[in-house]
Amino acid sequence: MRIFDPHIHMTSRTTDDYEAMHAAGVRAVVEPSFWLGQPRTSPQSFTDYFDALLGWEPFRAAQYGIAHHCTLALNPKEANDPRCTPVLAELPRYLLKDQVVAVGEIGYDSMTPAEDAALEAQLQLAADHGLPALVHTPHRDKLQGLRRTVQMVRACALDPERVLLDHLNETTVREAKDSGAWLGFSVYPDTKMDEARMVEVLRAYGPEKVLVNSAADWGRSDPLKTAKVGEAMLRSGFGEDDVDLVLWRNPVAFYAQSGRLRLDTPAAGATFEGNSILRGTPGAPDVPAPVGS
């Protein structure tokens, strides 16, 4: 089983996770920029974070044979904080970077006018930079949020083909599918979707344009949920080709629209700006062989 996790926050995870993910078949990830749990207070703390998503984190991933790309944006929650919104002016220079495969996560949290403005501006930034957009749908008042998101997408310069609507569930999948966008599902231990429900949604709506992610982060989450959905699909009678479509070809097709997806893991350098992940013990981690070897 080859797996592409199209939404995972690896900066919040350990090298043990990378190792377990590689063992489970994960060979590529996309890390969307998001809220860190602790509110940011300035655009500079965004730019340091963006630099980490473009520098240190791909280096870490490469040590474990995993290709790492990212999506950059001002997240919906912090779009409400006037101390953070100036980062919008910094985004254009970041959206030029090779490893940026979409603008995201953008979307709604509380559905405020400030969130409207940030979403609209960033959909336009995606169009201007030839990038697709990863759009988070809100956790509270979800269906209403999905509808407002779809309206905003319809009004923007981006084709729905270039939009991934994420964190969908049973109540939002129908209208999301009708919008023509790609359909993202986050599978969590307690909240969002679980494996069995994911299989039911795939049965009802088909695997076309469906992406499954772990959205693993600093909260209770599981970076192996993608693999677990693949196993649940096989147990429920889906074929290996369906699993490969959902867990690999669909995310590849969506993010390849950026023209920037590189799935050959670059040969891992021993250090990144003088730092290694080895903590001074040569060969300490059981580093898997790079992809293709």
Binding site: G37, P39, T41, K77, E78, N80, D81, D109, S110, M111, T112, H139, R140, D141, K142, L143, Q144, N169, E170, T171, M193, D194, R197, G219
Partner: protein
């Protein structure tokens, strides 16, 4: 030398204004001094040393975690900082200090523009103690309907008992839009095969009262 006084080793003294009940002797003496400093700062044009703000920061270790919120709220009530200082205390504060600022808003009644910025900041966090503290009497009086409804939903999402929401009955009663949001959330829980929180049913019933 600044060892944390042992908890509950001195009979609690109660009754003095501004002092939370249950504080042991050393903590009680420390807080009484700190409140005097804070009251002096409230009288002064400026508080050059900001001594009471140092007391505000150290109140947790001085009074013990069980009394820290109450001690800090009393310090704020005594010092009556302006919105700029209050905002700085919140922004530079630990989660506990931020919580105290939120809990004190109802007594300090800062101008809505500045006070609500703090409430809204707290409602964006996922720290349940901040979410709960943000929905006190100040939010009940000033928070606009949309943000308040999202605050109530956030309580249901994060497991904050809605009993923490000040003025819940008065604001929820007859709120059709809140009712719609609650019914949609209940439908989502049901579709996921998950139980509908008891608190949701309770608030929904309130929205259906005339």
């Amino acid at each position: 030398m600044t060892t944390v006084p042992a908890r509950h080793d001195t009979p609690a003294d109660t009754g003095a204004p501004g002092l939370p009940p249950g504080l042991d002797g050393p903590a009680r003496a420390w807080l009484a001094d700190a409140l005097t400093e804070a009251a002096r700062a409230a009288q002064a044009e400026a508080d050059p040393g900001g001594t009471w703000q140092i007391r505000f920061a150290e109140a947790g270790r001085r009074c013990g975690p069980g009394h820290a919120d109450a001690a800090r709220v009393e310090l704020l009530a005594a010092a009556r900082p302006g919105v700029a200082d209050l905002t700085a205390l919140y922004r530079q504060g630990t989660a506990a200090e931020r919580r105290a600022v939120l809990l004190a808003l109802g007594r300090l009644e800062p101008a809505a523009a500045e006070g609500l910025a703090l409430v809204e900041d707290a409602l964006r966090t996922n720290d349940t103690s901040l979410v709960a503290a943000a929905l006190g009497p100040y939010a009940a009086a000033h928070l606009p309907a949309h943000a308040w409804r999202h605050g109530v939903l956030k309580c249901l999402f994060t497991g904050v008992p809605v009993a923490a929401v000040a003025g819940l009955s008065a604001r929820a009663r007859g709120d059709g839009e809140l009712g719609r949001m609650l019914r949609a959330y209940a439908a989502e829980r049901t579709a996921a095969g998950r139980p509908v929180p008891h608190d949701l049913t309770r608030v929904l019933a309130l929205t259906e009262e005339p």
